[in-house]
């Protein structure tokens, strides 16, 4: 589904990713872990198309398409969706309006007309219930005045509505208390499907107690230094990242 090959990325002249390769297949949950500054967030940002990241070499393909040639919105419409670590506030724009615009943009790309309002409301109501969010969220401006936990739940809500083929979640656990993390994790688990890939970027192992990954990758100094199954995450929890860094330096 997603194939990243020997990816080199610089930000403001500094090389952050130094030959990263990764393959995510449909039905798999991959966790990208690593110390701060290793380039974890850079990877998902580059896949989503954020400006300011220069790809100096390497390729990213998604279902055979050259991702680097696609506009930001084309990537989303192709099925790659990024859940933000710091979701952005948009004053005056109702949450429900953003959801509707995004959903209808997706439908338009698939040659469908706008979703009829009653059908849309029904869909949204079931999804906000799933995220244990109050219906008043829909009428509030996008992320404005939301608590950290509310913002993260809102990101997952968008995923549940838009049903991406590849869900990328950037530090979705940061700033969450344990209850909020459970709700977010439940939301992510409900996204698990045979035809969907999930890429989790996280600093802490604790999220992986709730979302069991198929593969765990440790990112050190712009490369994947070590890959393994869920046991690797546990090992990192007890031993820290240093030993991987030493191992990869050796």
């Amino acid at each position: 589904m997603l194939e990243v090959k020997d990816l080199h990325v610089t930000v403001e002249g500094k090389e952050i990713l130094k030959g990263l390769s990764l393959t995510v297949n449909a039905g798999e949950v991959h966790a990208i872990m690593g110390p701060n500054g290793a380039g974890k967030s850079t990877l998902s940002a580059v896949i989503a198309g954020k400006e300011g990241y220069e790809v100096t070499s390497g390729t990213i393909t998604f279902e055979g398409q050259d991702v680097l040639e696609m506009e930001i919105e084309e990537r989303a419409l192709a099925g790659m969706l990024l859940g933000f670590q710091y979701p952005v506030e948009i004053p005056g724009v109702k949450n429900i309006y953003l959801l509707k615009a995004a959903l209808n943009a997706q439908r338009a790309a698939n040659g469908q007309g706008d979703m009829p309002a009653p059908e849309f409301m029904k869909l949204i109501k079931s999804k906000i219930a799933e995220m244990k969010m109050d219906a008043s969220f829909l009428q509030r401006a996008v992320n404005e005045g939301f608590s950290g936990g509310e913002k993260k739940r809102n990101e997952i809500l968008q995923m549940l509505v838009l049903q991406p083929k590849l869900a990328m979640l950037d530090e979705i656990d940061s700033g969450l208390d344990i209850d909020a993390m459970r709700i977010v994790a439940d939301g992510v688990n409900s996204l698990r499907a045979a035809d969907r890939g999930i890429l989790l970027v996280t600093h802490y192992q604790r999220l992986l107690d709730y979302i069991i990954p198929d593969r765990v990758h440790v990112l050190v100094d712009g490369r994947i230094a070590k890959s393994g199954d869920k046991e690797l995450a546990k090992e990192l929890e007890s031993r820290g990242y240093d030993w991987v860094e030493e191992e990869s330096a050796a």
Binding site: I72, I90, V93, A101, L162
Partner: protein, 480 residues
């Protein structure tokens, strides 16, 4: 307003218009006493009106154009302007939409203007558009039953001289400013509204519906009076782009609210902004002022300004009556090389007066925009309150936004609050929307409309929807 009513209004105004009695004569450029006498005579005005105009003219001669605004334009040659031109005859106008500039029609399409209105807006000869069913009578009857007078200012001068004498020039005196003096001397058209005591006007009044005339009045004069406990909502302008061979526009609008009266005045202005280099655009120098004369009266200005090469406009409220309220809600959008210096004045005179200002400025392209606001609290305005919120949004890095807030507080019991922000349309906001599959253009429009929401919700429903569409058209191509 029900769509049926709208339809009726549309038909009524386009059928009958306000200026049908004028023959197709025009006078050569230039301004002197003779010009003014000609205008007054063409309008069939009484002697006292001519004297009033001449007094204004002599006042104007002694004045100089204001130079304090943050605007840059060449000096205007007032002798090169023609001060009276009759509307085009039907046979000189396009006979059907096929003869109209397709680009103009495309814009109407984008704005969602109903088909039957497009022809009229594009200046297609009216008789070719509408059948002769006269709904004028029903419209006039409805207002007449309520006792509301709604007619052209010229008619009012002839038919209601006592009201005109009592109120004209009492809110914006002849000598108020350069453009107001000029307008007082040469105004040719405009509206008059009188709502008698205790009456709520049964419909929204609009000039939208008489845009058909090629000459919408270069120097418009509008006077609206609400007696005790009377209410009216008045809509001025049109979202459709308006071109005009007259470059200078200097309108004067006067509102008078007596005890417990409420006047809501909404404007959508979309005059031709000029070409890419800003050439040929309209200069819009407007004086709008409301006088809250009665206790507990309320005047509310809402404006959406997207057009004109130059905008100079400060709708104001004089809060004389005890506990009277003044409101100003504004969205101003500039793109290309447009310049706008706009804002408001709230003059608190009476006790317990309150004013509320929300100004949203959006600058794109190489445009320049200033908010200029005065809040003045007089010595007798015990417990007066003002709240001002003034936000600017910049799109791109070649435009400018400036804020000039003035406060003169003459009473220590007053509360005056001012909040101002300037932000660039956030790349992170754009990225957030786009990464949800929303195109850049739609994302910009979503963010901008969100920014303007506080003002749009003050607009009458049908205006609000068109205003959103208008914003999108104005900002087309502003990003990327």
């Amino acid at each position: 307003m029900a769509s049926q009513e709208m339809e009726q209004l549309v038909r009524r105004e386009y059928k009958e218009g306000f200026v049908t009695d004028i023959e197709s004569d025009t006078i050569p450029p230039g301004l002197d006493e003779g010009t003014i006498a000609f205008i007054s005579q063409r309008k069939g005005e009484p002697e006292w009106m001519l004297e009033w105009r001449l007094k204004a003219y002599h006042q104007w001669l002694k004045m100089t154009p204001p130079s304090w605004a943050h605007l840059d334009y060449p000096a205007i040659d007032y002798q090169a302007i023609s001060y009276f031109s009759a509307p085009k005859r039907p046979e000189d106008r396009p006979q059907s939409l096929d003869e109209v500039d397709p680009k103009l029609l495309e814009t109407y399409e984008k704005l969602g203007i109903p088909l039957h209105e497009r022809a009229a807006l594009a200046g297609v000869a009216v008789d070719a558009v509408f059948d002769s069913v006269s709904v004028t009578t029903t419209f006039k009857e409805k207002l007449g039953e309520a006792g509301v007078i709604f007619c052209s200012i010229s008619e009012a001068i002839r038919d209601y001289p006592e009201l005109i004498k009592q109120y004209l020039g009492t809110v914006v005196p002849v000598a108020d400013n350069y453009f107001a003096a000029l307008n007082s001397a040469v105004f040719t058209d405009g509206s008059f509204v009188f709502v008698p005591e205790g009456v709520t006007c049964p419909m929204e009044l609009s000039t939208y519906f008489r845009i058909n005339a090629a000459n919408t009045g270069q120097f418009e004069r509008t006077l609206i009076i609400c007696e005790n406990r009377a209410q009216v909502s008045y809509l001025e302008g049109c979202t459709a782009p308006q071109r005009d061979e007259n470059q200078l526009h200097a309108a004067v609008v006067e509102l008078v609210a007596l005890e417990d009266a409420y006047i809501k005045y909404s404007t959508v202005q979309n005059w031709y902004p000029g070409d890419e280099d800003g050439k040929g655009g309209i200069y819009n120098f407007v004086t709008k002022r409301g006088d809250c004369r009665g206790d507990r009266s309320r005047i509310s200005w809402t404006q959406v300004e997207t057009g004109s090469a130059i905008t100079w406009k400060y709708p104001s409220c004089v809060l004389r009556g005890k506990d009277s309220i003044g409101e100003f809600y504004s969205v101003a959008v500039t793109n290309g090389r447009q310049q706008a210096d706009t804002g408001t004045k709230m003059i608190h005179i009476g006790e317990g007066t309150r004013s509320y200002i929300v100004s949203k400025g959006i600058s794109a392209g190489r445009s320049n925009q200033s908010y200029r606001g005065l809040v003045k609290i007089g010595p007798r305005a015990k417990g007066a309150r003002n709240f001002t919120q003034c936000d600017s949004l910049l799109i791109g890095d070649q435009c400018g936004a400036h804020t000039f807030p003035y406060q003169e507080i003459g009473n220590s019991t007053a509360t005056v609050e001012h909040e101002a922000t300037t932000s660039k349309i956030g790349e992170d906001q754009l990225f957030y929307c786009q990464s949800r599959g929303i195109s850049e253009e739609d994302a910009v429009s979503m963010i901008v409309n969100g920014f303007c929401k506080d003002v749009f919700q003050e607009l009458p429903m049908e205006f609000a929807v068109e205003a959103e569409a208008l914003l999108n058209v104005t900002l087309e191509g502003a990003v990327g």
